[in-house]
Amino acid sequence: MSLNTDFMVKVAQTAIQGVPVTLQIVLVALVISFPIGILFALIRIYRVKVLQRVVQFYVSLVRGTPIIAQILIVYSALPSLLNMIIGRAAFAINPIYYAYIVFTLNAIATLTEVFRSALQTVDKGQMEAGLMVGMQPRQTFWRIILPQALISALPNIANTTLYLIKNSSLAFIMSVKDITAIAKTEAAFNYNFLEAYLVVWVYYLIICYAAEVVFYLLERYFSKYRRPIKKTSGFNWLPFRIKQPKLERKQS
């Protein structure tokens, strides 16, 4: 097989400029969706009226539709919407902001589910113990329950990150100059498509593996107090008030 190696080196050099763009999209989406995901997960767990329906609907919608459809909707609706609000300036917006929006919206849905199941793995006894040493429910949540939930969520957060990295390769549709976009232009210019995409493939592999290593290290660092979760009692630890859920109980 005759690959044009000179061209591949050239693409490698140009496409590397897209790496920060890809990373930026992933990081911004993660950072913004993280707290919102926790909030949404809590809304689901505590079955907040109306809101929980909204969150459920949102998660199902995002999970059930291709990211490409989400991109096309946001990229077609948002500019004209902004145009109505801020006028012509809307068309001068750097498209990367649209990418931030799409991927954040997408990550929120995934992380909501991730945090929901993670919070449910924390035993309700942890909340009770916090209350009985005199801490407020809120204090117990922040200091005891959330840290434990986050650590048990790490593998799934890693998965979400991987999906984000891979999905970000579609940012070129919004004319964001990420790795894929650069490779595409180079390829079309020289008509060496395969070479260009092979190079990009390697870049994505490197980025994904790097992310996996980071999460592996995080997991190992935090695993010092992980034990196999023996008995999880679902989300019964929920007493934000003294009102107790009428769920599982033991008596003797």
């Binding site: 035993d123 113990a129 005199g134 003294i242 008596q251």
Partner: protein, 246 residues
């Protein structure tokens, strides 16, 4: 010091507690015994506001009120003045033994960190676990975890400590070390209310035994009286059954 009157609790139409009244005096070591399903654990959990009572009155640390009318603040007051030792230990999994004890002191009582650590170390010493202070719960045996649980309760210097079947989740060979710690506490004058299946503890350590069945207090009195001359038929039957199995 702590008085409960007419405490009621039901789940989904089942009455678990049918009007319980208890008086706890300073220095009391009260054992609550009774068959499974008699409401012992529920009694402890409702008394300490871990579960909402459906009726009843509490007199404790300046509060003199019906359970339903307790404000959030009063609930906090109650929780701050009691200690609770759980059946499943419920140590904070993400904190070391020492941090498990300091957490409540620092966060809830606003004790300075250095001061809290001093108190925590003293508490760990009382349960004989000073050398395990930097271990996480997952690195401790069940008996050790429960001793940390007890240290966590005593460090807060509560007026009364509740024990909810503190040894029933333990392997038989680990029961002794926990009972020993509890015995030491009792002899040092700590006020304790203990739900237990350990008849030896009820008989030898406590100064009052309460026998519960079907959400009622059937009989209470000095251990000698209960164990040797129970006046109720139910108590007699329970004791013969349980002692036959020892």
């Amino acid at each position: 010091m702590l008085t409960i009157e007419g405490l009621k609790k039901s789940y989904a139409g089942n009455d678990i507690l049918k009007g319980i009244s208890i008086d706890v005096n300073k220095g009391d070591v009260i054992s609550i015994i009774g068959p499974s399903g008699s409401g012992k654990t529920t009694l402890l959990r409702t008394m300490t506001t871990l579960e909402e009572a459906d009726g009843g009155h509490i007199t404790f640390s300046g509060i003199d009120k019906d359970f339903e009318k307790l404000t959030g603040k009063e609930v906090n007051t109650i929780r701050r003045n009691v200690g609770f030792v759980f059946q499943n230990y419920n140590l904070f999994n993400n904190k070391t033994a020492l941090q498990n004890i300091t957490e409540g002191l620092i966060v809830a009582r606003k004790v300075k960190k250095s001061e809290a650590e001093k108190i925590a170390l003293k508490a760990l010493e009382r349960v004989g676990l000073t050398d395990r202070k930097n271990h996480y719960p997952s690195q401790l045996s069940g008996g050790q975890q429960q001793r940390v649980g007890i240290a966590r309760a005593i460090a807060l210097n509560p007026e009364v400590i509740f024990f909810d079947e503190p040894t029933s989740a333990l392997d038989p060979e680990l029961v002794g070390e926990v009972l020993k710690v509890m015995q030491d506490l009792a002899s040092s004058g700590t006020t304790m209310v203990v739900v237990t299946h350990q008849m030896s503890f009820a008989r030898d350590v406590s100064n009052r035994v309460i026998f519960m069945a079907d959400g009622h207090i059937v009989e209470q009195g000095a251990p000698k009286a209960i164990f040797e001359k129970p006046s109720e038929q139910r108590t007699k039957k329970f004791l013969t059954d349980i002692l036959a199995n020892v």
